[in-house]
């Protein structure tokens, strides 16, 4: 019985270590990572386990691509640099590991013979309280309409190939402040 008990404690520690490590990694990235602003594009998702969130689409996620060797790779390393407007853009994409504070791992959803690489960034869901998420989604959609003059972006911190989504901005304001100043009942 003592062995079983010891084993249960050990297993419990391992079970705790997994969310613990996730927390540590994200905190490290948020505190020490390099900050980038990713401009977003238009897309009421509900996640069974994690609740309501705003689904984000990034301008930088569709990359012109002429080769063929990356099309069959399911995960790629994305190297980022800032453009003249201060937003992040893709510098290059690699199937081999790249180190640095401007790199993250993305899922490659490209089709067989596509001319653009469709990437899925690891920070494309912004989770919010269930009553707020639909409003935020609406505000996000309105701000992302073609005729809209507002700019939306996500602040992401990168460190050692890890990415952490810090905040979502609409028109220069964090989304929570924006929703407080501009209430958005869901249509």
């Amino acid at each position: 019985m003592n062995i079983r008990l010891t084993l249960l404690i050990l297993v419990g520690l391992v079970q705790l270590a997994v969310p613990g490590w996730m927390i540590f990694e994200q905190e490290q990235t948020l505190r020490l990572g390099t900050e980038y602003k990713f401009q977003t594009e238009p897309v009421d998702p509900y996640d069974l386990f994690r609740g309501r969130y705003v689904a984000l689409r990034f301008k930088a996620a569709d990359v012109d691509y002429k080769g063929s060797d990356l099309l069959n790779v399911s995960k790629v390393y994305v190297v980022i640099r800032n453009n003249a407007d201060g937003f992040a853009e893709v510098e290059r994409i690699s199937s081999k590991p790249v180190s640095g504070d401007n790199v993250f791992l993305a899922i490659n959803r490209s089709g067989w013979r596509s001319k653009t690489l469709c990437l899925e960034f690891p920070f494309d869901s912004y989770y919010m309280e269930e009553t707020q998420a639909p409003q935020a989604e609406q505000a996000y959609r309105d701000a992302n309409r073609r005729d809209s003059k507002q700019q939306t972006w996500a602040v992401v911190r990168l460190r050692n190939g890890k990415a952490a989504l810090a905040d979502l901005f609409i028109d220069g304001q964090p989304i929570r402040d924006y929703l407080r100043d501009h209430p958005h009942p869901k249509k």
């Binding site: 019985m1 079983r4 008990l5 084993l7 249960l8 404690i9 297993v11 419990g12 391992v14 079970q15 705790l16 997994v18 969310p19 613990g20 996730m22 927390i23 994200q26 948020l30 996640d47 386990f49 994690r50 609740g51 309501r52 969130y53 069959n72 399911s74 899922i107 067989w112 690891p122 920070f123 494309d124 869901s125 912004y126 989770y127 919010m128 309280e129 269930e130 707020q132 998420a133 952490a164 989504l165 929570r176």
Partner: protein, 427 residues
């Protein structure tokens, strides 16, 4: 067990035992029945309670308590796991003998692990794939059935690995499906072995057998065997049937045996269709090695079990156990033999004959053993086979009508005849 109590009354009435010993026997069995019933009910309630609480916690988490701030939410996210761990530890220390506590604590801990990972993902906006989340969760839940000796967490795990295989099955990425399923399965098989050794004919073991059988069938499907699915699945169903017959000979309707027989019936009818057989030549290099291992290993295992069963002289349906052999022969012939339509025609013809033999053999076995389920299983294969041929070929409406009337008569007649002989046998 209730029949014993009734029997006791008869024995007292006919003077075989005295009134006192009759009363003592009655008391003994009645308390036993009571314990058995309440035990089962309490276990069910505790598992249900733990499941509801777990689901409720996940929903409460889904609300996403934004205004709490990150540090507080981070601390809270570990709470479900810590609480469930505390329950498990307390159970091992104080209630190790109670099935209800062990099962309930096990379910709670499965939910606790999932809830904590989901909460952290939510707090930090980590948008992972479902399959990655399931993978982490399954690895962390695997020790729970062993440590708590709890069956329900093992059932959750078996269902979970099938779902994981389904979510990671991606035809476009290397065409290999999810062979990792078999690694996950290997992790839980020792637990199944222990359960069989501890309580071979118990209802928990039967549940494990049933869910294990279903999970493995999905797992095999998600491994992407490509054209090799024919030997693969026939081998799997053969193994089910024979393991059921060898390990649980007392159970005519043991879950593995039933699954094996159902699978064999389904497969044998399906393989009588021409289009089910592979088209064109097989590109052998496109098939990954796990598929080869399974497509060769499962039929071989089934044949080895067949030899063993024949030697041990256990009672089993020869026609069901012959499926892997027939499938292997037909598959081999189809792959090496003639080209085009002729080879396929021979294959479907061979399988029509086999399915016909399986149907009649099974129905006859049912008649001999006075087993309605077996009889009707065999007749059902016959009906399916004839309907299948109607789909394939063009018969006149009158011919179909006559065939269906005859089949209906055969089914009703066989069942009535058996009911009658059974009554006469009892009388």
């Amino acid at each position: 067990m209730r029949w014993i109590v009734e029997e006791v009354d008869d024995l007292v009435a006919s003077g075989v035992i005295s009134a006192e010993s009759g009363a003592a026997l009655r008391r003994h069995y009645e308390t036993k029945i009571e314990q058995k019933d309440s035990g089962g009910r309490v276990v069910l309630l505790s598992v249900l309670g733990a499941t509801l609480i777990g689901a409720g916690i996940i929903l409460i988490i889904a609300h996403n308590w934004d205004n709490l701030g990150r540090p507080a939410r981070t601390a809270l996210s570990l709470l479900p796991l810590l609480a469930s761990l505390a329950i498990s530890l307390w159970t091992l220390l104080r209630r190790a003998g109670s099935t209800a506590w062990r099962e309930g604590a096990g379910v709670a801990q499965c939910a606790g692990v999932a809830a904590s990972i989901a909460l952290v993902s939510q707090t930090y906006h980590i948008s992972g794939e479902l399959s990655d989340f399931l993978c982490t969760w399954l690895i962390l839940t695997l020790p729970i059935p062993y440590l708590l000796r709890a069956v329900v967490p093992a059932l959750i795990y078996l269902a979970g690995i099938a779902v994981w295989a389904g979510t990671s099955f991606d035809l476009y990425q290397g065409n290999q499906g999810a062979p990792g399923y078999w690694l996950f399965l290997a992790g839980i098989l020792p637990f199944y072995g222990m359960a069989v050794r501890r309580d071979r004919l118990g209802k928990w073991t039967a549940w494990l057998s049933a869910v294990l059988g279903l999970s493995m069938a999905f797992g095999l499907g998600f491994t992407n065997l490509r054209e090799l699915w024919i030997p693969g699945f026939s081998g799997l169903f053969g193994v089910y049937y024979l393991v059921g017959a060898l390990a649980f000979p007392e159970h005519r309707y043991n879950p593995l045996r039933v699954l094996g027989a159902l699978g064999a019936g389904y497969l044998s009818v399906m393989l009588t269709f021409k289009d089910v057989w592979p088209h064109g030549t097989i590109v052998w290099s496109d098939i990954h090695w796990p598929a080869y291992v399974l497509a060769v290993g499962l039929p071989c295992a089934s044949i080895a079990l067949l030899v063993w069963a024949l030697r041990r002289k256990v009672d089993f349906n020869r026609f069901v156990s012959a499926l892997p052999i027939v499938a292997l022969l037909a598959f081999g012939m189809g792959m090496t033999g003639g080209k085009g339509l002729d080879a396929k025609l021979i294959l479907t013809l061979a399988f029509t004959l086999y399915a016909f033999a399986l149907a009649l053999g099974t129905a006859f076995r049912g008649l001999q053993q006075r087993a309605f389920a077996t009889l009707n299983g065999g007749l059902l294969i016959l009906v399916a086979l004839i309907i299948a041929r109607f789909v394939d070929n063009e018969f006149s409406i009158v011919a179909r009508g006559i065939a269906f009337v005859l089949l209906g008569c055969l089914m009703l007649g066989a069942n009535f005849w058996m009911l009658k002989t059974k009554r006469e046998g009892n009388a």
